[in-house]
Each structure stands twice: as structure tokens, then as C-alpha cells.
Amino acid sequence: MKSLGSIRRSFAPWTDPSAKPYIVFENVTKKFGDFTAVNNLSLTIYEKEFFALLGASGCGKSTLLRMLAGFDEPTSGRILLDGQDMRGIPPYRRPVNMMFQSYALFPHMTVEQNIAFGLKQEGMPKAEIDRRVADMLKLVKLEQFAKRKPHQLSGGQRQRVALARSVAKRPKVLLLDEPLGALDKKLREETQFELMDLQQNLGLTFVVVTHDQEEAMTMADRIAILDKGEVMQVATPAEVYEAPASRFVAGFVGNVNMFEGKVAARDDHTARITGASGAEIVVENAGDAVAGDTVAFAIRPEKIKVTSRRPEEAVNAMEGEVFDLAYLGDMTVYYVKLSDGQMVKASALNSARITEDALSWNDRAWISFKPDAGVVLTR
């Protein structure tokens, strides 16, 4: 079965029209004075989904999270949680919990007391609190640290306490604000998978805010890409990467080569795009572009082949000069300068130890790609 990217997902309620959305943002706008943080944004999130809000700082992703938690109220529009309008409901009455970017651990309480805090507010019986706290400590592997104060813990341990505290109440939705932002790279990679396991095991809905696209790609079922308070695209990681909706998304996630041009001809299956310099590209899946449209053809570096001679079977091939090379061990990155001056980045996996016909700086080279290797972007 053909599928976009290399992963086939069995959990995909967003493709099922009868599925009921769990969290709905309906034309939500949030203004702080003159500044519009969130602009007429609509979004749906499904139960048990791991949903990521991805964007650069100031794009409104944290504001969305804070509105869901109840710390900020939308200026207009509404937010529904499990069918209930959340307007006017204070944070302490919402069935959501948040893990703060700073962790916000109470410095005057032990790890145990931090985790028990939310349960005590609920008025849970003492014995049950003790049991739940013990469960949580086990879940995040901090049993020996129960009596420590937050300042006696390492960054990674603090992150776990914050996580345990926020899931202890078994919220319907867990909001995570840059949950791995303060960890070093290695710990971050380990923790990503732990978070995913946790979400699976507890069957919670996770909404995570991040500026790290790799983090979002690894963990999320779906990603919403935000820019200036608006949603650019909501899709699975594979769709975001292989079928970006706009030039912005293509450029924001991963590396991309963009060829600006016009659709010269269009039939059911393929389109011909003429670049400014006259070069022609034949593409499949041209979307809704029609003849005469100004479009961009976006193609990822790893989908481009670099060879010293023009491959005979290639439909799309362009000649240029090797401008720069980088050998990274697992792969090699080429920068090829085309005759019209455009720089193309291509990467090749070094699946063999010995390369025949290796390229060097300033060599003449051909780049080539298949008609379905890239996408046509009209926006």
C-alpha cells in the first residue's frame, strides 16, 4: 500500500468524518493591546491525539495553550472542550493540566508534596493520595527522590517531577509548554520516546507547544504550523514534510529547494512548469494549479540525485557546477549552482563505503529528480 512518508498510521480520527472532535478552537482571536497574538484561528483536536503546535517564538502557540488552560480568555471566538464552552471557566475548574516550560515546581515542597498538591486540592482521601503519588513516582522513576526538594534535583529529574505532577490528577488533556526545552540534546531524545509511551499508556490527549520541528515530527500524531497567530497547515508529520501547503510551511520544516515559475501546461496527471530562465520541469501531483499560475516547485534535498553525467532515463535534469560539498559520514551534502545562478541543495545517503565517479569542487554535475519527487505550491 502506498503512503506518504515511511510510516502508516492506524490512529487517524481526523480522516473519519463521523469522529467527534475533542478540543475545538472556533474563530479564536486574542489581542494584547494593539498586538494580535492569535488571529481568527480555528483548529480541532481529537481524543487521545498527540497534537503539536509548532512555530517560531511570537507565533501565538503559547497563547493558544494558555487560553486552553484558562489563564487567558479569547478576545473573540470560543474554545470547546468535550463539547463544553470553556468561556469564563477559571483554570482551577478545567479538566486540563499544564506542564510549564519553567516546570513551576513549588520550591518549598518536596517531590512528593509537589505531586500530591493537585490531588489534595481535589479532597482525595489520604491513603489514595499516597497510592497515586507512589504510582506517579514509579512512572517517572523517581522513587528514591520522593523526599528531596526541587533544588536538589537535576534538570532532567525536575522535568519528570513536573510531568508526574501534571498527570497525577489524570486530566482529560495534558498541555505541555516546551516540555523538553530545558534539557540537553541526548536527554531530550530519550525523553521524547518516554513522553510518547506515557501518552499511549495513560490514554491522554496531549497538546504540546514546541519550536523544535524535530521534536514535533518525532512525537506528534498531527502538527499545526503557526505563523503570526494563524494556522498555516494542520497535518501529520509526513504530510507536513512531503506535502507542505505553502511556501512558508515548506521552508519552515526541514530543508527545501524552491523553483519559482509558471504553469505552462496542465493535464489530469502532470504539469509542465517553466522557470524564469526557461528550464522546464515536469511534475505529477500539481494539486489545484492551472495553466498560467505562478507557482513554486518545492523539492527536498534528499530527493535530488547528483551525477557527473545526465542520467539517460531522467525526465527532469539540469546542469550545473558543484559549488560546495560536505561529507557528514552518513550522508554527503552537495550545493550545485545551476546555469541560471540558482543554488540547489542535494543530499545523498552514503549507503556504500566506496563511491565510483565521486564529485569534487567545481566539477560539472547534473541534478535530476522524478516527476513525483516534489510538490507544486500555489501559496
Partner: protein, 320 residues
């Protein structure tokens, strides 16, 4: 240094020793200076006062006996020493005036401190949450009253509080009252005076602890199910406690010994130890008894504070 090791390998080169010795000396010196200060300006005066409190009144100059002078000889020194006694302290226990004055001072200072906390906390909290750009201005406003003489500010309150004063004129004008309120020369006037005068000492330490607090902690508490009021008592207040303690001590200690405010605003009826002390000293010219009053006042204030601070230091060592 490398040349020194080349020339003589065993004995440390003189160049190596001198700087470290100098360093040790300077670091000692840094510690010694405040101690010398404390000994000269706190311990020595205290010992002099303590000695006077053990003497007897005399019609002389100075008005107590015995007096120790260098060159009296050892025999005279011992006979003088034998004249010292704790009689004045016994006298303090015999006259209920002193006990009542102590209790009344502690009560008045305690109530004033509590009122200052009640008023100072919201001010400090508001300042700590104010936009960063206007905080220096707010701090300035808190400190500004210090630019006017303390005495003048207390006098100004007489003008405000007296029966025909500004406050009564205003209240009668608004129609809230028809008879002037009697505030001056009551305990209320003392509370107003102390709270007004010492409020900055409450606000500043509170502000400095609240300013350091991460306000996302309060959001976290609310997120976990706390109402704002509960979050205040569970999070804000415990974290502000060092500031609360510092502020309360800074108000309570001077307020207990306060003399000017009860004298000017409290009238002749108010009994406070500062006033009693002043009377003993200047009206009765009984230096030994007034010294005894001062020593007891000091013990009353310093000992609990020292015990408290030791406990706090211990708690801090155990990790906040």
C-alpha cells in the same frame, strides 16, 4: 614561580609565600572590620549601660556611683566592684509601672506590626507585579517620605488627626459625621503614626522576596485546582515568609522602643517603655534605673530574635 622551582626544589620560594600570607591577612581583615565595628559601637556601649544599671543613683556628675577611674589602684577597684548590685532590676519587678509599660509596648508594637503587614503586603505585591519599567518609580515613591524629617512627618499627623484637623474637617464636610472624631491622644493615633512611619521597612523586604518569586508558580497552583485565595496561602505566602519575617522584625523592634510617636500622638495617657525610659533618664535623672530598663528591653527583643534567626538558619541549611 617556575623559576623558583628550578632554583630550589624543596623549600618554597619566598615569592610563593608572601602573596598567600598577604591574601590570608587581607581576607582576615575583611572579616575583622565588621567585628571591630560591632565591638566598638555595640558591645562596649552596651557594657557601659549594663555597668550603670548595676550602680546606685548619686547626686553627682555623672549622677551615679561608683565610678571607675584609671589610677584608683586595685583595692579601690575591688571595693567599687563590691558596690555594684542588681538592686535596680529588683526595683523594676517591684513597681508594676515598668511591667505594664513593657507589656503595653509589646502589644502596641505587635498590633502596629500586624497592621503594617496587612497594608504593606498588597503594596509590595502590587509593586512586584507592576510592569518592569515603572518599578523603579514605585520604589522611589516608597522611599520618598524619608527625604523629610521623621519628626516633621509625625508633627504633620497632629495637624491631620486633631479634633479640628484636616481629617475631621473633611469627614464633617462630606456629612459622614457631625461631631469630630477623637483620634489624637489615643492608641489609634499611635497605630496610625507607627504604621505610617515604618511602612517602608515592611514594604521593602516584602517587595524584594516577592519580586524574586516566579509567578508561574501561582498559575501552576491554580492549574492544579487551587482557587486564587488558596493559591495565595499555599504558595505566595509561604514563599514570601522570609520577607514577612524581616519586615515584621524591622517594624516591631523600633516600634517597641518608640518614644517620639507615643509622646506626640499618644498623649500623656499612653504607657510605652520608650517614654518611661525617657522620663527616668531626663525627668528623674535616675540613670541606673533607666539603664536597667534599657538592658531588659534589649534582652526582651534580642534574645527571641536570636533564637528565631538560629532556627531559620538551620531550616535554610536543610534546604529552604
Amino acid at each position: 614561580m617556575s623559576t623558583a622551582t628550578l632554583t630550589s626544589s624543596n623549600a618554597p620560594a619566598p615569592a610563593d609565600v608572601k602573596p598567600t600570607l598577604l591574601n590570608a591577612l587581607t581576607s582576615r581583615l575583611v572579616i575583622i572590620v565588621p567585628y571591630v565595628w560591632l565591638v566598638l559601637f555595640f558591645l562596649v556601649p552596651f557594657l557601659i549601660v549594663f555597668k550603670i544599671s548595676l550602680s546606685q543613683t548619686a547626686i553627682a556628675m555623672p549622677p551615679y556611683a561608683p565610678t571607675f577611674t584609671l589610677g584608683d589602684g586595685i583595692a579601690a577597684f575591688f571595693s567599687n566592684l563590691r558596690q555594684l548590685s542588681f538592686e535596680n532590676y529588683l526595683w523594676l519587678t517591684e513597681d508594676a509601672l515598668y511591667f505594664n509599660a513593657y507589656v503595653s509596648s509589646v502589644v502596641i508594637a505587635g498590633i502596629s506590626t500586624f497592621l503594617a503587614l496587612l497594608i504593606g503586603f498588597p503594596i509590595a505585591y502590587g509593586m512586584a507585579r507592576a510592569p518592569l519599567t515603572i518599578r523603579p518609580l514605585l520604589l522611589m515613591l516608597v522611599i520618598l517620605p524619608f527625604w523629610t524629617s521623621f519628626l516633621i512627618r509625625v508633627y504633620a499627623w497632629i495637624g491631620i488627626l486633631k479634633p479640628e484637623g484636616l481629617l475631621n474637617q473633611f469627614l464633617i464636610w462630606t456629612g459622614l459625621i457631625d461631631q469630630p472624631l477623637i483620634i489624637l491622644n489615643t492608641h489609634s493615633a499611635i497605630f496610625i503614626g507607627i504604621v505610617y512611619s515604618y511602612l517602608p521597612f515592611m514594604v521593602l523586604p516584602l517587595y524584594s522576596t516577592l519580586e524574586k518569586m516566579d509567578f508561574s508558580l501561582i498559575e501552576a497552583a491554580q492549574d492544579l485546582g487551587c482557587t486564587p485565595t488558596r493559591a495565595f496561602w499555599k504558595i505566595t505566602f509561604p514563599l514570601a515568609l522570609p520577607g514577612v519575617v524581616a519586615g515584621c522584625l524591622l517594624v516591631f523592634i523600633p516600634a517597641t522602643g518608640e518614644f517620639v510617636i507615643p509622646d506626640l500622638l499618644g498623649g500623656s495617657q499612653t504607657l510605652m517603655i520608650g517614654k518611661t525610659l525617657w522620663n527616668e533618664f531626663f525627668s528623674n535623672r535616675d540613670w541606673p534605673v533607666s539603664s536597667a530598663v534599657a538592658v531588659i528591653l534589649l534582652l526582651l527583643l534580642v534574645v527571641p530574635i536570636m533564637i528565631f534567626q538560629q532556627a531559620q538558619a538551620k531550616a535554610q541549611e536543610q534546604g529552604r
